[in-house]
Amino acid sequence: MDGDEVGSSIEITGLSKVFAHDRLEVLALDGFELQVRPGEFVCLLGPSGCGKTTVLRIVAGLEPKSGGSVTVHGREVVDAGSDRGMVFQEFALFPWRTVRGNIEFGLEVKGVPPEKRAETSRRLIELVGLKKFEDAHPVQLSGGMKQRVGIARALANDPEVLLMDEPFGALDAQTRNLMQKELLRIWSATGKTILFVTHSVDEAVFLADRIVVMTARPGKVKEVIEVGLPRPRDRTSGEFIAVRGRVLAELDEEFEKARAREISPD
């Protein structure tokens, strides 16, 4: 086990995943490698079907891996656990629970006493900007507000890493931009390690310390791009557009490969 000073928050080596549909086996991931430093914000980017969500689900412990090794803070991932918080594209809020009830879910199953739960949820509701909505039910909230609950709920367990699966994919463009800024604010306030799956180049360049571009299926790392721009980032600045261009070029190559394979299947 690596010490915390040298070690990574997330360490993935030689990860492979085979999906079996009936008698057909599909190799979704093949030799995927990634090290994420504590407190780092890493975006996984790739053509659809490249397995980026699968990587996230394996790290979360929701999907078994077929080979390789995944450790989070030095511990091998075997199943889902509260040390890895997850935020879903579909929000996945419990519709029968209020905002507060959703946020306190993780604490409840851990057996945290009600006063302490209330304290934590109050703090998180404030952090994600949902004051006055603590007793609302998910149906009463807009998409952006729902995902604020999703983030607060994942943070309630004080996890070491936050896994985000296209969390803003279901939001309109304006809300999406706002939520990206909000996420960066929450990230700097909590110092969590974030692994963020997206298919938006713009989103990845705006958010990430590093962008991992994946190959078309079977997914592995094609290129890791260090963004290296100071925050807050300006989408219209020359540097931003330059990084965006680099990422886009990498991605385009994979799109072409995926498309070529669709046209002439092997």
């Binding site: 809020l93 519709p95 029968w96 199953v109 998910p138 367990n157």
Partner: protein
């Protein structure tokens, strides 16, 4: 003119219209019934005809209504009980049948909805027994289970399957992403069941309860037909059907069942709405 059109539009979209339509349908039904009965009895406006030989089968609505009130005021001529006693006896059977059906259908439904093996095991039995009408079980249940448990068992069968089917379907439709969310929040198997599967299934359960209660009432006549301890509305209807002079009472008994079913389904509906509001679902 525009104002008139506007007012008509407003009426067409208001709830009042819906209530009015509901009343109108009842009024049309009663009018048709009354006319047909008058036709058979050769009463106004059909005074000229000779009465039909089947006239006694259909008393007019007023006669049925007065038999209805009379059944609460006086003991009936066959079992010598007030209608309140019959209602109490039937309600008790519905209640016991419901409690038993609920207690068995909910756990079995949850199990079959969440476990493929349990479903594979239970499905053949359910699919063979579900279409058998509870009526078919009447003789053997009354002989084998006697007059107290026999009728309850028949009502039980009527209520059991709607609840079982709805709960199974509900438990099966639990959104997998909600279970994923629960797992990443540290929920163990038991938490996933009690805090995700169970609340998700509740609305389906309520649908099953409402449908089941309706079918339970449909079984009550069959359940009480061949004998019942302490009377029963079904028992009352069946006994009144032996003499044409009591046909108005027989129809009054049917009216009682209709009203009781509306009442129990209504209570279930109120509970359902409360539950939805409490759970934050519209």
């Amino acid at each position: 003119m525009d104002k008139l059109v506007g007012a008509i539009w407003k009426l067409l979209r208001s709830n009042w219209l819906r209530i009015l339509l509901g009343c109108a349908s009842l009024a049309v039904f009663i009018a048709v019934w009354w006319l047909y009965s008058a036709y058979l009895h050769a009463e106004w406006p059909f005074s000229g005809r000779t009465p039909s030989s089947t006239a006694e089968y259909l008393p007019n609505p007023l006669q049925v209504l007065s038999a209805f009130f009379d059944s609460f005021a006086h003991r009936d001529p066959v079992s010598h009980l007030f209608m309140t006693s019959h209602i109490y006896a039937s309600m008790k059977r519905i209640f016991f049948g419901f409690v038993l059906a609920f207690a068995l259908a909910v756990p079995v439904g949850l199990l079959m909805g969440r476990s493929r093996n349990a479903e594979a095991f239970g499905k053949p039995i359910v699919e063979i027994f579900r279409p058998i009408p509870p009526l078919a079980w009447v003789p053997i249940f009354l002989i084998a289970l006697k007059l107290f448990w026999g009728p309850i068992a028949i009502v039980f069968l009527g209520i059991f399957f709607p609840i079982l089917l709805n709960v199974t379907f509900g438990a099966k439709s639990v959104d997998p992403v909600l279970l994923d969310a629960a797992k990443t929040l540290g929920a163990k198997k038991s938490h996933q069941f009690f805090k995700v599967v169970l609340p998700f299934t509740l609305p389906y359960l309520m649908t099953g309860v409402k449908v089941g209660l309706g079918i339970g009432w449909m079984c009550i006549v069959a359940a009480e037909m061949l004998g019942a301890v302490g009377g029963g509305v079904g028992y009352y209807i069946y006994n009144m059907a032996f003499q044409p002079a009591y046909f108005d009472r027989m129809y009054a008994g049917m009216l009682v069942i209709g009203l009781l079913s509306v009442l129990t389904t209504g209570v279930a509906g109120v509970i359902e709405r409360r539950l939805y509001r409490w759970m934050g679902m519209k």
